[in-house]
């Protein structure tokens, strides 16, 4: 058990103040000693999944750093939207933080029927890990590239795709639209269902954030496009990204931490440091490796810029769909 120096110092200070009968003046001193009470970490997705698990691992590490409990609390729903809306209303005192994914702030507010929050209603703190997002086909499919598939569709072939998430659906429709072809997209619940439809030969194209990798290793699927703005890890290093193919859109998800907007500077710097340490810690990195994600620590500024850019790109896609 390590002594937490600020906490000890605070206790001593409070004790002295109390002795002197001036405890009323302890207010400002307490604020400097953030955190002096438990922190709530709202989790934007249901218990048992990746976001929940990594959130709890980070919470455990932050507890050691801060010497205060960090309580992971469920706030699931609407792709992290329920959490983001709650965060937008919470007090920016550093005692409420949250974990969700990039599309929670980049995609959801753009396509929401009624806007409840946006990127600017949150302080995005850090990104944790990035998925390996790709468009893939069955190994026995005749399509060797995305262009092959769209060319065949132009030639009159029926082309279909399976998507596990609304952003991926919009992405696929946008790509087909740019090529002037019709793509039948079915929306399934969860990536495993995409795999089933691809392997069973029920659809032509599939999108996944990394579930395809074991099937790729076994030679049952072929990756034909990286949908992130950067290349995929091995074994798909040579697959071109959408940007390299000339499309102006990219989509991939990362787990990210956030807090309400207007966080005091000193609180934010303590959170930044604690999160950086937690994300770099052994359990979190082991989790990332085991889940076949890509380690992707980014600090507040870089992350915010990235999510803003993504949101702007989605706004353009939305405008294009309306035409």
């Amino acid at each position: 058990m390590k002594w937490n120096m600020p906490a000890v110092a605070r206790r001593v200070a409070i004790g002295l103040c109390a002795l002197a009968g001036i405890s009323v003046f302890a207010g400002p001193a307490l604020a400097a000693a953030y955190p002096d009470k438990p922190i709530t970490m709202l989790v934007g997705f249901r218990a048992g999944g990746g976001v929940d698990t990594v959130g709890r691992l980070i919470a455990r590490h932050m507890e050691q750093t801060f010497g205060q409990p960090v309580v992971a609390t469920a706030k699931a729903g609407a792709g992290g939207g329920v959490l983001a809306a709650a965060l937008a209303k919470a007090k920016p005192d550093g005692y409420t933080i949250g974990i969700a994914v990039t599309s929670t702030w980049s995609f959801n507010p753009v396509f929401a029927k009624k806007k409840r929050y946006g990127v600017d209603d949150a302080t995005l703190l850090a990104s944790i890990a990035r998925a390996q997002c790709a468009i893939f086909v069955a190994a026995k499919s005749p399509y060797k590239s995305l262009q092959d598939a769209f060319a065949a569709a132009k030639g009159g072939e029926a082309l279909s795709a399976s998507s596990p998430a609304p952003p991926a659906t919009f992405l696929l429709r946008h790509l087909a639209g740019r090529n002037g072809v019709k793509l039948r997209v079915v929306n399934v619940k969860g990536t495993p269902a995409v795999i089933q439809q691809i392997l069973g030969g029920h659809v032509d194209l599939g999108w996944s954030g990394g579930h395809h990798i074991p099937y790729l290793r076994k030679g049952e699927v072929r990756v034909i496009a990286a949908t992130d703005d950067r290349r995929l890890n091995a074994p798909s290093k040579d697959v071109p990204t959408l940007k390299e193919m000339g499309y102006k859109i990219s989509f991939c998800g990362a787990y990210i931490m956030a807090a309400p907007k207007g966080l005091p500077g000193d609180v934010k710097s303590r959170l930044d440091a604690a999160l950086k340490a937690a994300i770099g810690s052994e359990p979190v990195q082991t989790f990332i490796e085991r889940r076949k994600l890509a380690g992707n620590y980014q600090g507040s500024e870089a992350l915010t810029a990235e999510v803003r850019a993504e949101a702007a790109a989605w706004a353009k896609v939305k405008a294009g769909l309306k035409k």
Partner: protein
């Protein structure tokens, strides 16, 4: 062969056995407690297993899963409050049996049927996983649609005493299952601008409210009015040996039913996306159709209990078929298990038999061990449950209410699910009062979205009616459904109590 022996050896180490035992006890407990279910326990346990060895973690979670399937029947039989949604049909005959003083017999039937169904499906998993997986892969949207329509037709036995009221309840269930983001157009529907509704009504909230909380409301009313029926729903254990024993005659009575349900549960489990509750309902429906005394179902027929329990437990093993061979989880519990595999760096799917053979065979060993433990713990537990039922209502019902609240909070992801649970508790109370079948409602709520998704996928993927000809399996299923409707309509409907 080496991997098989090594795996079995690992399954039989004291540490692994202890984790299986702990899992089974926990599973039975959470299954028995209305408001808590085994997927919920698994969800909470998954992050904890990060620090365990992979086999210990999986063994523990399998124990929870198996224990939970039996546990759900305990409160269904004793309290008329199914501990889990898949045990909903168990209450239909289990509770009347308990009222007749035959609680011991009903519980034993549930336990033995559950373990028998489970064991059958484990054996199927171990022996023929690979060929079955290929069939599961071939189930595209049109084929799934066929199975679902047939299932929907077949479970009309669960509509309750009145066909009209049963249909109203089922349609209401379908309607409320449509709340949330439209799965294809991604546009919110029936959400009234409430953000929390965009994911739909939480199934945990709805099921816990309708099945468990409504019983609490009913009991509050009864004690408040001091009706003569205040002790209603109370069950006592008869002192007669016959009423508490599972006799040779009982075995002869239910063995065919258990066998049928075990097969139904195994098939349903092997097809991704159908789920445990449907298996239980189908097992019950099939038993009723096959029985020479269908009119006695719902009044305390042993086969009713056996049919449901064997079918829902048989899902547990066969659900691992698509998970282990294809990496495709068939239901919520399997999806959570997949998550547990992943955090240990093991990707369930085609590679697992090659890359982690020892683990897979260790797991098979654990499955069988868990069945034995389920039997032992369940048998010992029967005495404990008897005590729990003797606890006064004034203790039992507030505890149930508290668990309904915590359960919906955890499983539904927040306070909104608690509110949902309470609203549906009141709806369930009204339905019980007006004799609308709660089971029909839940059936609609579960099957509605599945039918919608597969129907819309079929429409998107197929050009016109002619393209249907490319899917003979769908045509076969539709034809069978039509025959079933004709057959059901021709025979006078028999009453079925709740």
């Amino acid at each position: 062969m080496e991997a098989v022996l090594e795996g079995l050896a690992q399954a039989l180490t004291p540490a692994t056995l202890a984790f299986v035992l702990f899992g089974v006890v926990l599973g039975i407990a959470v299954g028995a407690i209305p408001g808590l279910s085994s997927p919920m326990a698994i969800a909470i346990a998954v992050p904890l297993t990060f620090y365990m060895s992979p086999l210990a973690a999986i063994a523990f979670l399998l124990g929870v899963n198996k224990g939970g399937e039996f546990g759900g029947s305990i409160s269904a039989i004793l309290l008329n409050t199914p501990g889990t949604p898949e045990a909903a049909a168990t209450a239909l005959d289990g509770h009347p049996l308990a009222r007749q003083g035959k609680a011991g017999k009903a519980l034993k039937t549930a336990l033995y049927s559950s373990v028998a169904g489970d064991t059958f499906s484990d054996v199927v998993l171990i022996l023929v996983a690979a060929p079955l997986a290929v069939i599961a892969l071939k189930m595209g949207p049109p084929e799934l649609l066929g199975v679902l329509i047939f299932a929907f037709t077949f479970v009309t036995a669960l509509l309750g005493r009145s066909m009209i009221k049963g249909l109203i309840a089922a349609v209401l269930g379908v309607l409320l299952s449509m709340v949330g983001i439209d799965p294809e157009a991604a546009i919110p529907r029936l959400t009234f601008d409430v953000l929390e509704l965009e994911d739909g009504l939480s199934f945990a909230g709805v099921a816990i409210g309708l099945l468990a909380f409504s019983e609490v409301v009913l009991q509050i009313e009864r004690s408040h009015l001091r009706e003569s029926g205040a002790g209603d729903g109370m069950v006592s254990f008869s002192h007669s040996r016959e009423d508490n024993a599972f006799t040779r005659g009982d075995f002869r009575q239910v063995r065919g039913t258990v066998a049928r349900s075990a097969v139904i549960g195994t098939v349903v489990g092997a097809i991704p996306g159908l789920g445990t509750s449907l298996a239980g309902f189908l097992g019950y429906g099939a038993a009723m159709k096959a029985s020479r005394h269908p009119e006695e179902f719902g009044k305390g027929r042993l086969e009713g209990v056996a049919a449901t329990e064997a079918a829902n437990s048989a899902v547990v093993g066969s659900n691992l078929i698509p998970l282990l061979t294809l990496g495709i989880p068939g239901n919520v519990a399997a999806a959570l298990l997949a998550g547990a595999f992943l955090i240990h760096g093991i990707t369930p799917g085609p590679m697992i038999f090659r890359d982690h053979a020892v683990l897979v065979y260790g797991m098979f060993g654990c499955l069988i061990v868990a069945n034995v433990m389920n039997l032992l713990v369940g048998s010992v537990g029967l005495r404990v449950f008897a005590l729990a039922v003797r606890a006064p209502r004034s203790v039992v019902m507030p505890s149930v209410a508290l668990l309904c609240i915590t359960g919906s909070f955890v499983a539904g992801g927040g306070l909104f699910a608690v509110a949902t649970m309470m609203v549906f508790g009141i709806l369930g109370y009204l339905m019980r009062k007006l004799d609308f079948s709660i089971i029909a409602f839940i059936l609609g709520f579960i099957l509605g979205p599945m039918v919608e998704r597969s129907l819309r996928h079929t429409v998107i993927l197929l050009d016109d009616a002619q393209a249907l000809l490319g899917h003979p399996f769908l045509i076969l299923m539709l034809a069978l459904s039509a025959v079933a409707v004709f057959w059901l309509g021709r025979r006078p409907r028999r009453g079925l109590g709740q």
